[in-house]
Amino acid sequence: MSSSSQTIERVLLQNIEDGDRRKFIAKSNDADSGGGARDLRFRPETEFLPLFRRMFPNKTIKTRKAKGVTSQIEVLSGTVTWNEPTGDKSATMEIWPATDARPNECRIARISEFALDGLIQNDPNGGRSVFMMFQQANGDIWLYFTTETSLLTQNWDPKIKKFAQDWFDDGCKSAFLDLVTKEQYPHV
């Protein structure tokens, strides 16, 4: 694979809190962790859903039932890959739009089905545990787990390092950098 096809186009980061860790094993249904037991949520949807649209090429219309009301929603999907000690693994990831109960929060659906919990990194200095998703120029999407200490001190590309620093400075839960459209959240 050529290096140009592996050029990074988009990076997404999310702080994995205790409630999120339980989502990775489908045991989070408490209010503090954001309701749904298996979904990683991203807010504001107005920022993150357009990013997901650029990352995930497939769109399907699905029926969602909530409190007896049926509605049609657009679900994004695409293949994601991650590395495990036994080698690379791939699966189809779905992105769902916000629900009435949690408006302006789009989500990665059923993260628990990916069995990623063993890959989550604990920060040696008590900093953030970070879920990272990045897309290459060839469209491939990779999942990765790292820590605040790693992002700030290890040998990351300076653009990634600066993006992470901006995110840590802001303190919000999720962040993205789109190197194609030059967009970044949180805005700096």
């Binding site: 290096s3 592996q6 050029t7 990074i8 990076v11 949807e45 107005t46 920022e47 859903l49 357009p50 649209r53 650029r54 657009e74 590395n83 690379d88 739009p97 990045f134 290459q136 990779w142 990765y144 790693s150 290890q154 040998n155 990351w156 590309d157 300076p158 653009k159 990634i160 190197l179 194609v180 459209t181 030059k182 967009e183 805005h187």
Partner: protein
């Protein structure tokens, strides 16, 4: 290769580059990108995934920057914006009243303008300077450069070792050190990147003799950037739905209207009068539902409409054609009316002063229609 890298290559080869493009095509962003690459030695301009590495996105090896830019250890970017009050002394050197605290009334001092400072920086060993001049056509450009206009040419600079060559062009300059007139020439590692909007009708065109001393780099409006920004399909939808059912439908209509309007502007006034994609991306907004999308594009349309009015100022029929108002298209809030002033035929455009969100989709559908 990115536009920024192309510009750096051009700077290395020609020393002076003139970036031109309609408003909203990303000139300012590109200037910043070039400045960032120049100072950062091209480092990390393209993060690359290294599967299996301890850190999956390590720094990209330094550096692909060309020639003397790439080999200079010390680099500095100088920035300025030209305006109607810009003077030769602001760029090179000159005499001005010294009103600094502690100086007696009536004292004068010699200025060190930004081109002079950049030049002096680049004259240091192992050093390169990039001077960025934005809005270069919004001031008395030729006067500002004065006698330096010939000396900026790449083959009329000093040699890389600082010595003069038979082709080196010297010009007179007030030496800030002692006030004497000296013969001055520019160093080899001084790079000048200027930007302008050619269609800026508030200023005079640049002198041709001045222009030929710059390598041109032109930017175009790109609907592909809009498609990526709003997350819609890379190719235009064959036919727009009569009413939008999603934010994507509104974005698609806006992008098709943007393309069609720009095509008509290019025909009527020239390609330099088109408007850039950035105008639809104001505030970095990415609407997620129909209502937000309509509101966003209704606001963006005001800027496009003002641009059309300015580009076709005094030309009612040209404005009408740009707005597709001359073809009786149903749903178009604008229409051309043929009337008279006494015996003289006149034309006028009927339509709302500003388009609200409820009208903007129909407007975009009408604007996107092309002449058969």
């Amino acid at each position: 290769m990115s536009d920024a890298n192309d510009i750096l290559d051009l700077l290395e080869n020609r020393r002076n580059v003139l970036l031109a493009g309609p408003p909203g095509t990303g000139k300012s962003m590109l200037l910043s990108e070039v400045a960032s690459l120049f100072e950062a030695k091209g480092h990390s301009s393209t993060p690359i995934h290294k599967p299996g590495a301890p850190v999956p996105i390590p720094p990209t090896p330094t550096t692909s920057l060309p020639g003397s830019i790439g080999t200079s250890t010390n680099r500095k970017v100088f920035r300025c914006v030209l305006h109607q009050s810009s003077k030769y002394r602001d760029f090179l050197t000159g005499v001005m009243p010294d009103v600094r605290t502690g100086t007696p009334p009536g004292t004068f001092r010699i200025t060190e303008g930004i081109l002079y400072r950049a030049s002096e920086y680049a004259k240091q060993p192992d050093s390169a300077a990039l001077l960025i001049i934005d809005e270069i056509n919004r001031g008395p450009t030729v006067q500002v450069f004065g006698g330096a206009i010939v000396a900026i040419e790449s083959d009329k600079r000093l040699a890389p070792d600082g010595k003069s060559t038979p082709a080196t062009q010297f010009f007179d300059l007030i030496n800030p050190a002692d006030g004497d007139l000296i013969e001055y020439a520019f160093p080899s590692r001084l790079y000048i990147l200027a930007a302008m909007n050619q269609a800026d009708v508030s200023v005079e065109p640049l002198d041709v003799a001045f222009l030929r001393r710059w390598a041109p780099f032109n930017l175009e409006p790109k609907s592909s950037v809009l498609r990526a920004h709003f997350g819609v399909a890379a190719t235009p939808m064959a036919s727009l739905p009569p009413s939008p059912s999603s934010a994507d439908d509104v974005s698609e209509a806006a992008i098709q209207a943007f393309d069609a309007v720009n095509q008509r502007i290019a025909l009527g006034r020239g390609p330099e009068f088109r408007i850039g994609h950035g105008v639809l991306m104001a505030n970095n907004a990415k609407p997620s539902n129909v209502a937000d999308a309509l509101a966003h594009f209704a606001t963006a349309w005001r800027t496009v409409k003002n641009h059309i009015d300015e580009a076709f100022f005094g030309d009612v029929r040209g404005t009408a054609i740009a707005l597709n108002a001359d073809r009786g298209i149903a749903g178009n809030p604008y229409s051309l009316e043929e009337t008279s002033f006494g015996d003289a035929p006149r034309a006028m455009i009927n339509g709302p002063v500003s388009i609200d969100a409820s009208q903007v989709y129909d407007l975009f559908v009408a604007l996107s229609q092309k002449a058969v």
